[in-house]
């Protein structure tokens, strides 16, 4: 489960159950799967300037924080939103501290990327050998 889902899970708990019921584990050495969603502007976009304004709006700490805490529940990539602040504000319960992503997590985490065509071919041949009962 992605950490963002763990953080937003507190809004989906059954009535009466507190966020204490939740937990999130991430390898202590930081070697876990890490990833992020993207917002892209197509090259042929009709209103690129407006799109940039929109990106700036979302990356503004005030609006990004509001968007995170009150709407989407997915953490925006803002360094000002560090774990201690989010917990102090009550946006994230203390027991989900590990679910908060810091910029430094991207240094050690494993980013899931697509295999290259060659890599995919080798993966598929190995899988085919396994499925043939050879391996």
């Amino acid at each position: 489960m992605w950490s963002g889902s763990a953080i937003s899970a507190q809004w989906y708990l059954p009535e009466g159950a507190g966020p204490k019921a939740l937990g999130f584990w991430f390898p202590a050495d930081g070697g876990g799967t890490i990833g992020n969603d993207l917002i892209a502007i197509p090259r042929a976009a009709r209103s690129p300037v407006l799109a940039h304004h929109f990106l700036n709006y979302l990356l503004d700490v005030k609006h990004g924080y509001d968007n995170f805490a009150n709407y989407v529940g997915y953490q925006p990539p803002l360094t000002k939103l560090d774990p201690s602040k989010l917990i102090a504000d009550g946006v994230v319960p203390a027991n989900l501290k590990t679910a908060i992503v810091r910029e430094s997590d991207f240094d050690k985490g494993y980013f899931p990327t697509e295999l290259s065509p060659t890599g995919q071919t080798e993966w598929q041949n190995a899988w085919a050998e396994f499925k043939a009962g050879v391996r």
Partner: protein
């Protein structure tokens, strides 16, 4: 061929009307066999779009890329490789399943054709009845029968053959072969029946008159006469068995029982090597074409021998 047949089918009456009657069949052959087969060839000799992973067929035979075939043949001819293992396994399964089908189907068809009497139609209907249910449903029914607490285990324990339930579905060749036999045997019975029913009884009476025992009459008259039917039945069920992949999928799903069809499925369904899947299809077809060719040659020879 009788005189009448010769007049209709021969060249004397070669007007456009009679030739036109063949048009639907010819159109069918072009549209649903030759054209799709050419597409498969072009996919097998083509490439794959590296990003969308959709096949990019090479329509021009002069620019065909043979790497998929090289890969397939390399796998087929190096011992222990996936393709060779799977191909040999499929061959064994099909040979055993076909032999078992023949052993079961021949007495059944023989009985219906010779001793069916006025029940013949009813017995035939009973044999065709499984066709009314989809192949998938029949295999799913076997999953129910073969599972831990299914009737097969219940009966075998009750009779005393087994002490504890055996898990028939955890990747056993026997279960897959059972599925193949059960799935395809009606075709074999029908092919044999159609032929055995037409054997002239006076030939058997003559054999008995000339002093043959019932067994000798069967061995020396009925069996040789039914050779084309046996061959037809074998071809009719062996061809689809070679391409089967859902029977092992449903009754075992284990890598140790996977067949050629499973490998074709794996490569065709996605990834960078759809041409390899298409090449496997073509190679399997070439192999089956050899079997089919043998069937055609030997039936033609048998027809000539019978003077028909």
């Amino acid at each position: 061929m009788s005189d009448r047949d010769r007049r209709v089918g021969g060249k004397q009456s070669g007007n456009a009307f009679w030739a036109g009657l063949a048009l639907p069949g010819v159109a069918w052959l072009y549209l649903f066999f030759l054209l799709p087969f050419y597409v498969i060839l072009c996919v097998a000799f083509g490439t794959v779009d590296p990003i969308f992973q959709t096949p990019a067929p090479e329509w021009n035979p002069l620019q065909w890329n043979t790497s998929a075939f090289e890969f397939v043949f390399e796998g087929l001819f190096s011992s222990g490789a996936a393709f060779q293992t799977v191909f040999l396994r499929t061959l064994v399964y099909v040979v055993v399943a076909t032999a078992l089908s023949l052993l079961i189907a021949y007495p059944v068809a023989y009985y219906v054709a010779r001793y069916g009497g006025r029940w013949k139609t009813l017995l035939l209907l009973g044999l065709i009845a499984p066709f009314f249910i989809s192949y998938l449903m029949r295999m799913l029914a076997w999953i129910n029968l073969l599972q831990d607490d299914g009737w097969v285990n219940d009966v075998l324990i009750w009779v005393g053959i087994l002490d504890a339930p055996r898990n028939w579905l955890d990747g056993r060749a026997s279960s897959v072969i059972l599925g193949l036999v059960y799935g395809y045997i009606p075709f074999m019975i029908l092919a044999l029946y159609a032929f055995l029913d037409r054997i002239d009884r006076s030939l058997l009476e003559a054999a008995r008159d000339l002093g043959a025992s019932p067994f000798q009459a069967f061995r020396l008259v009925t069996l040789p006469l039914s050779m084309p039917a046996i061959l037809a039945g074998v071809v009719i069920i062996a061809l689809p068995m070679f391409g089967d992949y859902y029977t092992p999928d449903l009754l075992s799903q284990s890598p140790s029982t996977s067949m050629v069809g499973n490998q074709i499925n794996l490569y065709i369904r996605g990834g960078q090597q759809i041409p390899v899947g298409a090449a496997l299809v073509v190679v399997l077809m070439m192999f089956l074409a050899v079997l089919m060719g043998y069937y055609i040659v030997s039936t033609a020879r048998a027809q000539r021998r019978l003077g028909a």
